[in-house]
């Protein structure tokens, strides 16, 4: 059977055409490397106004590191918990998922408190009220009790502390979305798109103070679902068909996005497109997603799956290894990155955005964060080595650690 037919069968029915579900043991280095890279980009972008941020991907395309992060969250959730559901059943997977959700929640609250402390210190030391403004932390100082309750219920999210709540909600939805993707990836994607469009039409969002969530979960579940479909495909070992026209289409779209983002005004001179060019150049609707964002991230993922070397090839290069280590420990690196970037913002302002300091902070931060990833990977290896030495004595040879385990 051709790969196109097999792929189509997967899209419609959630399994390869021959019906056999063989679970692949997947630890795809591409995911770790890209995730690590996205984390570094998020760190740089969270210090707006720095020179390096001007070279980050959001200046050259419709989607940015947040889209990659959410997409890869979907992919790795499918690999980890999808695999667990297939092998050990839903109950165990749900337990592990619950544990992970708790960890994420605690991490979010911890980062919230640390950031409040950092900003409070900065404001009292430097007398610059704008630090409160940029991080939207005013409610915390104004009505601490209410803000604290808001933080605990995820209904108050200062700027930059809005990705983890999204991740928590999406991961909580994982079993439902995965069940859908098992039955029919295409059907689930269509459902997911319909929910997004309905939320847009009815202006649905979860509450965040006077406004909605910066990342509207009703919208961003589309990217997460796309990630789950990709992860499910990887889990089943479904190969992408060689569709040249789609390759060409994806490249064309990405080039078009580049051109639209980097030109000033409307280079086509077609009056009807003026508004569209303005809308993509002024910023894209990150809260509610946008077709341009979604198509861009879809095109990028298609090309990445088709052309990036699979397996461990990407993880062999020194940079690849460093980013992969950060990507494997994404929660830690992300949380530390948020705190560092906010400290970075403050240092940048206090030094009047001196170029040397900007470069130093960016380079220093990225080095620190990748170093943290490498350290944590090393730490896990040596502690696992110690731990497996004792219990395995009675159980024969050391079982390989399940490759789909959680981090």
């Amino acid at each position: 059977m051709s790969s196109i037919a097999s792929f189509r069968h997967f899209l419609l029915f959630g399994r390869p055409a021959d019906g056999a579900v063989r679970l692949e043991k997947v630890r795809d280095a591409r995911i770790d490397v890209l995730r690590g890279l996205a984390l570094m980009i998020i760190f740089i972008n969270h210090m707006p106004g720095n020179v390096v941020a001007a070279y980050m991907p959001h200046n050259f395309g419709f989607s940015d590191a947040a889209d990659i992060f959410v997409l890869l969250a979907g992919v790795s959730a499918a690999l980890a918990y999808g695999g667990l559901i297939e092998q050990r059943g839903l109950a165990l997977a749900a337990l592990k998922l619950g544990g992970r959700l708790w960890t994420l929640y605690i991490a979010h609250i911890a980062v919230f408190i640390i950031v409040c402390g950092v900003v409070a210190t900065a404001v009292t030391q430097t007398q610059n009220p704008l630090y409160i403004e940029t991080i939207n932390i005013q409610p915390f100082f104004r009505d601490t009790v209410e803000a604290l309750i808001g933080a605990l219920t995820l209904t108050y999210q200062p700027s930059y502390l809005d990705i983890l709540p999204l991740y928590i909600v999406l991961l909580a939805l994982f079993p439902a979305i995965y069940a859908g993707v098992r039955a029919s990836p295409l059907g689930t994607l269509l459902c997911s798109l319909a929910i997004w469009q309905a939320a847009l039409a009815f202006e649905l969002n979860l509450p965040n103070g006077e406004a909605g969530w910066f990342f509207n979960p009703f919208a961003w579940q589309v990217v997460f679902t796309l990630g789950i479909v990709i992860g499910r495909g990887a889990l089943l070992g479904v190969g992408l068909p060689r569709l040249r026209w789609l390759d060409v289409g994806a490249v064309t779209f990405i080039v078009l996005a580049w051109w639209a983002k980097t030109s000033t005004g409307n280079p086509t001179g077609i009056g009807a497109l003026n508004d569209w060019f303005d809308s993509v150049q002024l910023g894209s609707d990150k809260t509610n997603l946008a077709w341009s964002r979604l198509l861009h991230i879809a095109a990028l993922s298609w090309l990445a799956i088709r052309w990036l070397p699979a397996g461990s090839a990407m993880g062999r290069h020194a940079f690849g290894r460093a980013f992969a280590a950060a990507g494997r420990n994404s929660l830690h690196v992300f949380c530390v990155g948020i705190v560092l970037s906010i400290i970075g913002q403050i240092v940048l302002a206090e030094t009047s955005f001196a170029p040397g300091v900007q470069l130093l902070i960016c380079a220093g931060g990225v080095t620190f964060l990748t170093g943290l990833g490498i350290f944590l990977s090393w730490y896990q290896i040596i502690t696992n080595r110690g731990a497996s030495a004792e219990p395995t004595a009675g159980r024969g040879a050391a079982l390989p650690r399940p490759s789909l385990s959680l981090r």
């Binding site: 707006p48 106004g49 900003v119 409070a120 404001v123 009292t124 007398q127 610059n128 009220p129 704008l130 409160i132 403004e133 940029t134 991080i135 939207n136 005013q138 409610p139 100082f141 104004r142 009505d143 209410e146 200062p158 700027s159 202006e203 103070g209 006077e210 406004a211 000033t264 303005d278 150049q281 002024l282 910023g283 609707d285 809260t287 302002a349 206090e350 009047s352 955005f353």
Partner: protein, 205 residues
Amino acid sequence: MVALGSSTTAGSGDRAGDKSYPAVLEAELRRRLPGAEIKVINKGVGGQSAYDMLLRMEADVVAEKPAVVIWQTAITEAIRDIGEEKLAKILRKGIGISRAAGIDMILMDLPWLPREGRYPHYDDYRAVMRKTAQEQGVALFPRYAMMKGWSSSRQFTPEELVGMDGLHLVDAGYRCMALRLADGIVAGVGTIKIETAGGRAKPTN
């Protein structure tokens, strides 16, 4: 009226005693123009950029059908240094939306900062606001100049002005700003409304 803005507009969020500038402005305008029906709707969302506000302008401003919108904005753009041309474009679009809906706009200048050397392009962004307001023919409320005047007049402690301790965010500053806005608005609508109000509008401070 609608007050569109970020945290300066949102103010305290304190339900007990709303001391945000739109609340003070409403009370003050009602006092000065007793005959007129006055409502100031607070649409401030902390931390929002001009672009974020542009996206919600239809829903939060036009749909409310106000006579006037006060747009307090651009601080995020100035801090993030997003590009002056980009800010000008966002402002022009926002002004365009309100004009198309027949709503008068008052643009609010950026706040004065004790040490604005922290943001090397701060003045450039103020210039963008000034220029855009001028070219579009909308009023620019001189918040910066006003705060600067206060700071040199020593009528206020620095804490009262910019809330440097972060804990008492500028109730005094907000109050004065609202009173000054009321001055301007009353002066602007004065010829029409004061007649109905029996000419009892007195400038206060």
